[in-house]
Subunit: 340 residues, 2 copies
């Protein structure tokens, strides 16, 4: 038996057949029995050195790859069903490496109802993961295009922590390479804060409980997941809805950990929050009547939800501090800006 | 508007909404309205320099990426419905590059009923394509595991031509780099043969008409698509079914073009056929009664179908020449053979 076939045999134990999975990994395609109705489908690709740090642990990579896709379904208000996982990797990493990735993805996906159904392996100069995930909207799907003037704007969790975590991870790796101990270099950060920031980048929590509740209970008019920074993704939601999103500086949820890290690095925490990326929190809008119901339910979503602004007539996304407005829709990193 | 958003806008014109595609590219996930029933789902990853030649034309890459996945559905007897396309690429290739890939994939997919529904873009050191495709079996799904002793073995098309085409493409590229003209170096090959071999590698034809007919009309007991060489994939079918597949040397369909190329290169064409890979033909088995119906219908599949062997009790895949049997299940290239 060769390497790929051995891999498929091992992966099969991660994807037991039964219930709606009629035929899992090991044939030309997976077979899934499915009731009628809408399918919400998403795909993401993660490239080593671009979307994650070189030499990241494989199980954590697998967890992150599926979490990023789960976040897209959360932003549609969809319950996950199945996913396909394709892995490209350098042969020198050995046969256990892709299996550890698959194990991490299957475990993390399983926590949210997403089952591994199949995928592909290829050799590659560096690790590349591609996930395709689908599920079923819990109620009317949460589109980006439903926001209207007068709506309120909400944000889950503490965006900016992932960007801080990435910077911290890079710094710690550099310290380790020099042989110095990290804690000595970050007296401003408690060990708990450090762990919180690192986890925000490495092991994001998809906001499925929140997203599916928003859809099921019709509590939101539009939603997007924050993958490229709150500013840029607010701009996308605004553009899809044909409205202006106004974020209020004083209302943005800066965590203690983000504040401490930003102070230590002499950065504005609001910049990390708006331009950071990789947060996988939800940014969403609600009409005043939805907002009233939402705020009454806010303990039930498994995530902090903060009112951060309002929707106005116009176009774009701005940060308002009571005196002036700053365009934030172009903040942050766009991997694919031509020529940049 | 930034690069990724501009890409999404351009891709939208390739994926018009309507019919069952409720919401295409540009939101967090695609939304597809679907009737109840089985879903056949498959994914493949193609890496530059591993699965295709460096600097291949982007439209042709897109065509090939979707064709490889369509072939998996053909081998299940499934009609394609939708696909997601993720593209990693070096920024220096410019913003038109991924769009050309998407255009090629959408055009080729459209020929077989597969519609682009969404995907992802990432920066990467070299081009990586990941496709996830799903569809619906036309009848009972064609599994790898249904072959039984007494069945006959069939093969579509002319496997081995893709492997010859890959060698030819590499040779022509080397000639071009030296400034010599290719025709002068391959007097044994007609220009038509050359084109046929190159196309077999670069632009494979998924055998959907054949696969869906086998499923709909229950003409096959098991099927697999030939991606890693007839020998290795015959071994996989044999293993899944718990049988021995015997391929008869004299019956294997060696095309004129493959014969001419093999003669020019001093190779055995049967070795290219068994060990070559990248053919995307179908290898399938049929009971004697299925075989009789199949052979009566063989003009209707849009592809040559050749009887190439038989299924026996036992295990493995062998090439028989009337005197001896050679194990062929380990022939060919396995990208992931540990330590190889």
């Amino acid at each position: 038996m060769n390497g790929e076939d051995a891999f498929v045999d091992a992966v099969r134990t991660l994807a037991p057949e039964g219930a709606s999975l009629v035929l899992g990994p090991g044939d030309d395609a997976a077979l899934i029995e499915r009731e009628a109705g809408p399918l919400a489908a998403t795909a993401d690709m993660l490239v080593e050195g671009v979307d994650f740090l070189p030499d990241e642990e494989p199980e954590r990579l697998g967890r992150r790859a599926i979490a990023v896709n789960l976040s897209d379904l959360a932003a549609m208000g969809a319950e996950p069903e199945f996913f396909l996982l394709s892995i490209g990797f350098p042969r020198r990493r050995g046969g256990e490496y892709p299996l550890a990735i698959a194990r991490g993805a299957a475990a993390r996906g399983g926590e949210f109802g997403a089952r591994l159904a199949g995928g592909d392996l290829s050799e590659a100069p560096q690790t590349v993961l591609a996930v395709a995930l689908w599920g079923r909207p819990a109620g009317p799907a949460l589109r980006r295009s439903g926001a209207a003037p007068g709506d309120l704007v909400y944000l889950s969790g503490h965006p900016g922590q992932a960007a801080a975590g990435l910077r911290l991870a890079r710094r710690l790796a550099a310290f380790a390479a020099q042989g110095s101990t990290p804690t000595a270099r970050f007296p401003e950060l408690s060990r708990d804060d450090e762990e919180r920031l690192l986890a925000a980048f490495r092991d994001p929590v998809p906001r499925l409980a929140l997203g599916t509740a928003l859809s099921r209970e019709r509590l939101a008019s539009a939603a997007i997941d924050v993958s490229d920074g709150v500013g840029r993704d607010a701009g996308r939601l605004a553009r899809a809805s044909g409205v202006k999103v106004v974020l209020e500086r004083h209302a943005l949820p800066v965590s203690m950990a983000l504040g401490a890290f930003a102070a230590a690095e002499d950065l504005d925490p609001i910049t990390l929050l708006l331009a950071g990326g990789d947060d996988y929190e939800l940014l969403f809008t609600a009409s005043p009547s939805q907002a009233a119901r939402l705020e009454a339910r806010s303990g039930a979503f498994g995530a902090l939800v903060t009112r951060v602004g309002r929707v106005e007539a116009g176009l774009g996304a701005v940060l308002a501090d009571g005196r002036s407005e700053m365009d934030v829709a172009r903040l942050g990193h766009d991997h694919l800006e031509p020529g940049s």
